[in-house]
Amino acid sequence: MSRQQKNNNRLPQKTLRRWHRWVGYTSLFFVLVLSVTGLILNRTEYFGLNQVTIKNQLVTALYGMGPSAPPLHYKTGDQWLSWLDGRLYLGRELIAQNTPQPVGALALDDLIIIGTNDQLALYLTDGSLVEMIDKSSLPGEILALGKTTSGRFIMTSTRGNFMVDREFMSWTPVTNDVNNDGLSYRVATPRPAPAQLREEILQEFQGQGISLYRLILDLHSGNILGSYGSYLMDLAAISLIFLGLTGLMKRRPADPGRRKENKPTKNKL
């Protein structure tokens, strides 16, 4: 073999070694996570991973189980009405989902009135839905709800203050300064609810937590880091294959004696 040919063979070996080292260093952490979690998952029953539940705040936040906005609590008669990330609770009971953030809620006789910007929801005190009044039947966008001392319902909208009849069919405008009409008008505002209720609602919202099996499985698959995480772990797995293959392709510095010894043996066979 000529000197030039020898030099040409050395070049890919050198590059291969460099890439092997570079990919090895880069993927070391992820390959470790992949293999350790893989080992643990292989012994799921032995470790009892399904029996362990994690309620850690960091973990629940990672899984998007934490609320995106702080809860709101309104005192509606004897009961508390709470809103948490689209869910409405009357006391501890979930009565509606996918509800926009309320602008006010109050109790009026046997009704609980909940106002969002473009909808007025009427519930009975037992949580049964009476009606959802959409904006086509409202005088304007709702800004606030309130009640006069005489117990009449007042809605503040973008078009002023309005009173409504018992059936919520006919809206009557009230002068902007309600107090001048001799009406004491109190706006329904959120109030701090008892700590126990807050805790119970948050727990209901978050569910029973995450099982350790699910956490390790998501660590293994990379899903814990979101949609990009699985690609990251794919890269780690591919690097592992790459390291294996390049490891096989790598040769030690030439040992001419050994190669010569091997060749005749092959010929003999």
Binding site: P12, T15, L16, W19, N98, L124, S128, L129, V130, E131, M132, I133, D134, K135, S136, S137, E167, M169, S170, S227, Y228, Y231, D234, L235, I238, F242
Partner: protein, 185 residues
């Protein structure tokens, strides 16, 4: 040469997530204001607004149509003569779809998706789908008189549309049976 190939493979792998994960965000689109829909349904004429209470005789039908026991105790309608307009909300997958349904002579004369809040399946708003409901009636089994073709990828939304159209027809029939609305403005 190896250098080149490896670089290309790694670059492709790194770039692939951004290209694959695009799209699929939840949306909230109002195609038509409810007030405009009602106004157009009665050609700008003022319609009577009323409420229909779900009484004991109506309840089983509503339960059968909606396939659940939780629904409002009353529904609001807009009426002029024998024409009624119902603005109904029904959940497709997770979010409610607001639909306007106009009924006359026990037949649907228009079904329009007013607000769509889901991330997938908004194709139900296209006339190619919604026009299928024109002239559809309710049969004795509280089913639609005509088969409605679904849309691939929007199964839950099309199911919701079938439910609200059946409910509107049912409520319309019950309202005209009683003829005198329980409460009217």
């Amino acid at each position: 040469m190896i250098n080149f190939y490896v670089t290309i493979i790694f670059t492709l792998l790194l770039l692939s997530p951004s290209s694959l994960s695009a799209g699929a965000a939840a949306s909230h689109t109002e195609y038509q204001k409810t007030g405009d829909y009602i106004s157009a349904a009665f050609a700008g004429q003022p319609a009577v607004q009323g409420i229909l209470w779900i009484t004991r005789d109506i309840k089983p039908g509503v339960t059968k149509i909606l396939q659940r026991k939780n629904f409002p105790l009353r529904y609001r309608y807009h009426r002029m003569g024998n024409r009624t307009v119902w603005i109904l909300n029904e959940i497709g997958k997770v979010m409610p779809i607001t639909t306007g349904i106009t009924i006359e002579e026990d037949k649907i004369i228009d079904l329009t998706v007013l607000t769509y809040r889901e991330s997938h399946g908004s194709e139900i708003r296209f006339p190619a789908y919604s026009n299928q409901y024109n002239a559809v009636q309710l049969n004795k089994n509280l089913r639609l008189s005509k088969a409605i073709n679904g849309i691939s990828g929007a199964t839950l939304s099309t199911n919701a549309m079938k439910k609200v159209s059946r409910l509107a027809l049912y409520l319309h029939n019950k309202l005209l049976e009683k003829d005198v609305p329980t409460t009217e403005k």
